[in-house]
């Protein structure tokens, strides 16, 4: 009963937006550029006040950054609630439902709780590094969010080397995790940091290699250029996204798995597996610093999902030809919601893997297959993408996949392991 009503409401909202776009609204107020409204207003205000040029550009950048931060902090608060609700439904519970209707005020309550908690700094820790780690973990996520094209008219920082920038700032997270683990001066954080760094280093390789085919075929490192390379439709209705090619499907899937591991989420949440090492590198943190770790993790999840959408799912491109009238950022955030829901579903479904399974999976399965997608992307390009291309590329990718699957399904004999540090 409620679903058709919701769909009707949603369609109504979409058509209103589409109508508002086709009518001759001033460009400032067109739905397409709503997200850029704060930036434009600040620019116009400063120019009207006869501010010097450097002040105008600083103000413009600050407003663009503030928009991104505001949008994604709201999304973070919402996601923390939606994740708990979704997991609860998957486990046949109800989830948070006390604070506000449907528990909508739960994030606010959590925020107040986190802010008012005692900030504990262990005596054996190094206070400066202990303070630095949570800050360093949030910065790269926000920097990475700033180069993603959210819409036709909404790219916070236009950059020719956007993808390189994304991966370059992403490496800062590893240092931050190490600092957190080491500066806490305790064993669990140290072990958690070691696990986290080895996992991040291992899964960064398939992540970057699987993005290589996209760069080769679109011929650019700029993320908006990559989105534009995926414009258009095959046969009039199949979108020309990279995920709908044989190599792109495999690379996109590898990207998804590696992104899941890179953001330390279940089933790859070994660095903070509660039943094994308390909370990993966050064990000695409390209050707002702990909240900052969570914020960094969720913002990182948004950023890496956004990059995946940009590379493989066509960014802000609409999925069907007639839908270009809807503002492009709605499509981007719709896709983001789908990808994030997929991550939640994976978390609710899979049990945590063991550390040796984790490493073997990365080095023996993901990295070889992702390396294979690079030449297959070249073959796809030169075969013209017809039936022959489909056949050839699928065969090259399927054969190693079958071999690896058979190999992995064999049970490995485990020998006795001696833990020399525990004796």
């Amino acid at each position: 009963m409620r679903l058709p009503a919701l769909i009707a409401l949603w369609m109504g909202a979409l058509s209103t937006l589409g109508w508002a776009q086709t009518t001759k609204a001033p460009p400032l107020l067109a739905p397409e550029s709503w997200p850029r409204l704060p930036q434009r207003l600040v620019e116009m205000g400063l120019q009207a006040a006869k501010a010097p040029d450097w002040l105008v550009s600083i103000g413009s950048f600050a407003a663009a950054a503030a928009t991104v931060v505001a949008v994604f902090l709201t999304a973070f608060a919402l996601l923390s609630l939606i994740e708990r609700k979704t997991l609860a439904r998957a486990q046949n519970r109800i989830g948070p439902n006390r604070a506000g209707i449907f528990g909508i005020l739960q994030p606010v309550a959590d925020g107040i709780k986190m802010l008012t908690k005692e900030d504990i700094v262990p005596t054996k820790s190094e206070w400066f590094l202990h303070l630095l780690a949570p800050v360093l973990i949030v910065i790269p996520s926000i920097l990475a969010l700033s180069v993603i094209p959210y819409g036709r008219d909404w790219l916070p920082v236009p950059m020719e080397l956007g993808m390189l920038f994304f991966f370059a700032v992403g490496t800062m997270t590893e240092i931050a995790v190490f600092i957190a683990g080491w500066a806490s001066g305790s064993k669990f954080p140290m072990l958690g940091a070691m696990r986290a760094i080895s996992q991040m280093v291992s899964y960064e390789l398939p992540l970057i290699i699987s993005a290589m085919g996209v760069v080769m075929l679109s011929g650019t490192l700029s993320l908006s250029g990559i989105v534009e390379a995926q414009a258009g439709f095959h046969l009039g209705f199949i979108p020309a996204w990279y995920v709908l090619t044989p190599w792109g499907f495999v690379a996109g899937f590898i990207f998804l798995i590696a992104a899941n591991a890179e953001s330390n989420r279940c089933p790859f949440d070994l660095p903070e597996g509660e039943s094994e090492i308390v909370a990993g590198h966050m064990t000695e943190y409390s209050g707002f610093k702990y909240a900052l770790f969570f914020m960094g993790e969720y913002l990182g999840l948004f950023a890496i999902s956004g990059l995946g959408i940009t590379l493989f799912l066509g960014g802000w491109q609409p999925p069907l030809p007639g839908l270009a009238c809807v503002p492009s950022w709605i499509w981007f955030f719709g896709k983001l919601a789908v990808v994030i829901f997929f991550f939640l579903w994976v978390r609710a479904t899979f049990p945590r893997v063991r550390i040796d399974q984790l490493m073997r999976f990365a080095w023996l399965c993901l990295i070889p297959v992702s390396l294979l997608t690079v030449p297959v992307a070249a073959i796809w390009q030169y075969s013209g993408g017809g039936a022959l291309g489909w056949l050839l590329c699928s065969a090259i990718l399927l054969i190693p996949f079958v071999i690896l699957t058979v190999r992995f399904n064999r049970r490995m004999a485990t020998s006795n392991r001696r833990y020399t540090f525990a004796e």
């Binding site: 590094l129 140290m190 080895s198």
Partner: protein, 170 residues
């Protein structure tokens, strides 16, 4: 010019700290800071590609490698390290002096300020890529082969010769 004036003293201080700190983790983190600030310096002069690659390779890979090596090895005796310090000062300076002299000589006889302004504007990445993969292909291939050999060699060294590969059961 202003970023250079702000950054270079900071880089020098952090570099001195990296050499002087007795605790290896502090030294490694300061080294990472030095490398990151050099990347920022590249970015401020418009060499975006070099700056980002510097960040990715040195901060993301080399610093992490050093940190990882520190994690899996036994920490040294810090007091003994501090006691050794005065004796290692002279050989250290003897190594640094020629490098410093060479650098000063190069800067002194290199392009003066006027000529430096004539240098071409920042190279677009596509031009850089074409240069690398068209004119410098042999060098790129040689480096690739070398790195692969190093990787295989490292894997061979890391293997414990006593342990046999585990046979699959079933």
């Amino acid at each position: 010019m202003i970023p250079l004036l702000i950054l270079s003293p900071l880089i020098l201080l952090a570099a001195l700290g990296a050499v002087w700190k007795a605790r290896p983790v502090h030294a490694a983190l300061l080294l990472a800071l030095v490398l990151a600030m050099i990347a920022v310096l590249y970015l401020t002069v418009g060499a975006e590609f070099v700056g980002l690659v510097q960040f990715m390779v040195y901060v993301g890979a080399v610093a992490i490698l050093i940190v990882f090596a520190l994690l899996i090895t036994r920490p040294g005796d810090e007091a003994a390290e501090l006691a050794r310090r005065p004796r290692s000062l002279a050989p250290g300076l003897a190594c640094v002096a020629p490098v410093l002299g060479l650098l000063l000589y190069a800067i002194g006889t290199g392009v003066p300020g006027e000529a430096a302004q004539d240098c071409p504007p920042a190279m677009p990445v596509t031009a850089l890529g074409l240069e690398l993969f068209e004119n410098a292909v042999p060098a790129v291939l040689a480096v690739g082969v070398l790195l692969t050999a190093v990787l295989v060699g490292a894997a061979l060294f890391a293997r414990d010769p006593a342990s046999k590969p585990q046979p699959p059961i079933s």
